[in-house]
């Protein structure tokens, strides 16, 4: 097991007042999220905007201080590390960002962007070595090293994302958080980047936490999938099990919303639409967070938070009172 996340919680304080700030409330963006990822595996993390998927990714990398819980990477508790040790560990865990337009410094050339982590960690001794390594990295992600001296604005979105991936790979990490790496790209480019990520995973034995809201993309790349709703994981299962027989009503609705690329079938199938709006994250509902919108709501859903429990199938976990 490469990464283990136990009861992770992330809170954002909400301040009031301009001069003397006082903490008014807390947004509990992520609450008691637990999962694990084995080496070489891809865990997909899906959920709608604002459900806390990105906060999970960021706090796993300790780019954000979690309010509670533990993140154990390769046997080391990240919370117990000091600044120095954490910087060392950053070599093993990297991130690919969502927006390839703002995640590259506009004042650095492609080579500088890719080579910056090498510089930070002192991973080369001579200029020639630096050039060779950055050239190699660019080649690895399918870019021509001849373009290394260009600036980010001279590249297309897909090319920029490749630069971002090359940068993440530069320090030979074992684990990469892909934070919606394709959702800012054109559909035709998305497939290329996904394939690149898969090829690299195979070649370099990488482990991914793949965050996305596109169910088709997640299905394609993931081994297992976790579904989040309002800061909690509601279901986690192997890819096929989840897509074939979703147990949580939210997952069922989510999957039902995916259109079928056949107009006859699409017109003929019954739609399962969930009612209402996503709840206010400042004023979370009691009990199960999905209960105000759930079609199968029962009395105890309003009071009791459903815990994660194994369903009939092995490795299929669900947090719902009525499911399973």
């Amino acid at each position: 097991m490469l990464l283990q996340v136990e009861d992770l919680s992330v809170c954002y304080p909400v301040f009031k007042g301009a001069l003397l700030k006082s903490k008014r409330a807390e947004i509990r963006a992520v609450e008691q999220v637990s999962f694990h990822i084995s080496a070489g595996e891809t865990l997909g993390l899906v959920g709608e905007s604002g459900c806390g998927k990105t906060s999970v990714g960021r706090s796993v990398l300790r780019l954000e201080e979690p309010a509670g819980g533990r993140v154990i990477f390769a046997g080391e508790d990240l919370g117990a590390l000091d600044k120095h040790q954490l910087r060392q560990l950053r070599r093993q865990m990297q991130i690919v960002f969502q927006d390839p337009f703002s995640s590259l410094d506009p004042r650095m050339t492609a080579r500088e962007v890719v080579g910056e982590p090498l510089r930070i960690h002192g991973l080369f001794t001579t200029r020639q070595e630096y050039r060779d390594r950055t050239d190699h990295l660019l080649e690895m992600v399918g870019l021509n090293p001849g373009m290394a001296e260009r600036y980010p604005h001279e590249f297309s979105g897909g090319q920029r994302q490749r630069i971002g991936i090359a940068r993440a790979l530069s320090v030979s990490p074992r684990f990469i958080v892909c934070d919606e790496p394709v959702s800012a790209l054109d559909v035709s480019i998305q497939a290329q980047i996904i394939n690149l990520l898969e090829t690299l995973q195979e070649r370099l034995q990488l482990t991914y936490l793949f965050i996305a809201h596109d169910l088709a993309v997640v299905r394609h790349i993931s081994d297992r999938v976790a579904v989040m709703y309002l800061g909690r994981i509601v279901e986690i299962a192997g890819r096929n099990a989840l897509y074939r027989s979703p147990l949580h009503p939210y997952t069922q609705a989510l999957l039902a919303a995916v259109p079928i690329p056949d107009p006859v079938l699409e017109a003929g199938r019954k739609h399962l639409v969930i009612e209402g709006e996503i709840s206010d994250s400042l004023n979370l509902p009691m009990g199960c967070r999905f209960h105000p919108r759930c079609p199968k709501v029962e009395e105890r859903c309003r009071e009791e938070v459903p815990g994660m429990r194994p369903a009939t199938e092995r490795k299929h976990w669900v947090a719902c009172h009525s499911a399973g």
Partner: protein, 300 residues
């Protein structure tokens, strides 16, 4: 003018290759072009003063004091018979040295404090910005007089005094820029790569905050020249016999009715120098601004 700016490829957002594009656009900008021409002229005056001057600026000729323009003295002579033209040429040195050096120190101090304040935030930010507010509250000329009185007159002290006044502008601008830039994903990307705070500040935040700083420093040079002249006019600047515009203005002022050129010539030079740096600053703002907007679009 507007057409020109639209044509000068707005896209390349402030990269190093953009420096060429900026200077090309500046040359096409009318007032910035004029400003640069005057600044070049001043630089030539200052650098080549010994060769350009017809006389030794300190050579007194008490038989020919307070003369109007003549073939021997193109701008006439001052109250002790020194050649006014030579003194005006040499005076460019003091004005430029004080203007440029004090702006440089003010920029270094201000940018550093602004970076730290903007990046660290919290108490450090509060402390630095309140300090900035405090310094800004004090009227410039009064602080200048107090410092000159405390430190004694002289070029070093004038530079120190002007820098001590001028850094606040840079601190504020830098902090504002940093607050904007530090939220961008590439700063987070640097943190994820394990970059230290210093690296983020100087490799990422500073280069991406440059545009308004360049504009401000150009205008500050003009302001510093003005302050230096004011101090010299009040007798607190460079000490005689070193030629300085402010000092010539002060002495010439008493003889305004006899030889108007005595004070007019240095006065005009001060005006020209200040205007030139302000023109350049305005031009820089016009040229850099559409690029800034171009950068902003991409963030969204």
């Amino acid at each position: 003018m507007a057409i020109f700016q639209r044509n000068t490829k707005v896209k390349p957002a402030l990269c190093r290759t953009g420096a060429l594009a900026v200077s090309a656009a500046l040359l096409r900008h009318k007032s910035a072009g004029a400003g640069m021409a005057i600044i070049w002229m001043l630089l030539v005056m200052a650098l080549f003063a010994p060769w350009l001057s017809p006389h030794d600026p300190n050579e007194q000729d008490l038989y020919h004091v307070l003369q109007g323009p003549s073939r021997a003295h193109l701008l006439g002579t001052d109250d002790v018979g020194r050649d006014l033209l030579s003194r005006v040429l040499y005076g460019a040195r003091i004005s430029l040295i004080v203007g440029l050096l004090s702006t440089l120190t003010a920029t270094v101090i201000g940018v550093f404090l602004g970076l730290v304040a903007g990046y660290k935030g919290g108490l450090i930010d509060g402390f630095i910005m309140r300090l900035t507010d405090t310094v800004m509250c004090i009227p410039g000329l009064i602080l200048l007089l107090v410092m000159a009185a405390a430190l004694g007159p002289g070029i070093h002290n004038i530079i120190i005094a002007i820098s001590a006044l001028g850094w606040t502008v840079f601190a504020r601008i830098t902090r504002g820029q940093v607050l904007m830039v530090r939220e961008l994903p590439y700063v987070e990307a640097a943190r994820a790569a394990g970059a230290s705070g210093w690296r983020i500040m100087f490799q990422h935040l500073l280069p991406n905050s440059m545009a308004p700083l360049i504009v401000a420093s150009s205008i500050t040079v003009g302001g510093a020249i003005m302050l230096e002249s004011a101090a010299a006019f009040l007798g607190l600047g460079v000490q005689p016999p070193t030629p300085s515009w402010g000092e010539a203005l002060r002495v010439g002022y008493s003889y305004l009715e006899i030889v108007p050129l005595f004070s007019l010539a240095p006065g005009l030079m001060i005006t020209l120098a200040v205007l030139a740096f302000n023109f350049l600053g305005d031009g820089l703002r016009d040229v850099l601004d559409p690029r800034l907007r171009g950068e902003g679009d991409k963030i969204k």
